[in-house]
């Protein structure tokens, strides 16, 4: 099985309602608030150290039985910049993707350098749904 580093589109940043422990690196997030500044359309988004996916993508990942991941609620808001640039753009519902597996063992994991690692089958699933703006490299 092949594995890949995926550096997703960064559509915004952590919002003020995020709760996390910054005493460790990567910080441990217990409540996630993702504020979107601009969205190119990918189904998987990052704002270090967290990832979110569209609800539809989350359902498809669950349908293939992806391992090393669990899903949780996320508060998603849009910034003033987003509302000015895209006054009519509607966003899909997003959910929090918590990668907790071992890289190159589970379908989802976090590499020592903090990058997301996924199996080929997960990458293929995401690719069909749209991750055109992600940076992808083989995991070695």
């Amino acid at each position: 099985m092949k594995y890949f580093y995926i550096e997703p589109e960064v559509a915004g940043g952590l919002g003020k309602n995020t709760v996390m422990n910054r005493a460790v690196h990567p910080p441990v997030v217990s409540k996630l608030h993702y504020q979107i500044d601009g969205w190119l359309g990918d189904v998987l988004l990052e704002s270090f150290p967290s990832f979110i996916v569209t609800e539809d993508a989350g359902q498809q990942l669950q349908a293939i039985g992806a391992t090393g991941v669990r899903f949780d609620d996320v508060e998603v808001t849009t910034s003033d910049q987003f509302r000015q640039l895209y006054p009519n753009r509607r966003l899909p519902k997003f959910i929090w993707l918590r990668a907790e597996g071992q890289p190159a063992c589970d379908d989802f994991g976090i590499a020592p350098d903090g990058r997301l690692v996924t199996s080929e089958r997960v990458f293929e699933t995401l690719k069909k749904l749209g991750v055109a703006n992600a940076l992808v490299a083989p995991f070695k």
């Binding site: 550096e7 589109e9 960064v10 559509a11 915004g12 940043g13 690196h25 990567p26 500044d37 601009g38 190119l40 990052e46 704002s47 270090f48 150290p49 640039l85 350098d113 903090g114 990058r115 703006n133 940076l135």
Partner: protein, 61 residues
């Protein structure tokens, strides 16, 4: 970093979506790679991003 001289715009004719996305990605990589960034490191990164993308800002640098 938030001084008035750093207040810049991105012309509408450039692909601001893609442009802003690249800047967000650059900062995201920085936060991932720097557990405890100093003010000096933050300013250095801002300068680096400016030199990479600043040619498309208004006023350009």
């Amino acid at each position: 970093m938030n001084s008035l001289e750093n207040l810049r715009g991105i012309p509408k004719e450039v692909n601001s979506d893609l442009h802003l996305s690249r800047i967000r990605r650059a900062w995201n990589q920085f936060y991932r790679e720097n557990a405890t960034a100093t003010q000096q490191q933050l300013l250095q990164k801002a300068t680096e991003i400016d030199s990479t993308y600043g040619g498309q800002f208004l006023p350009p640098r």
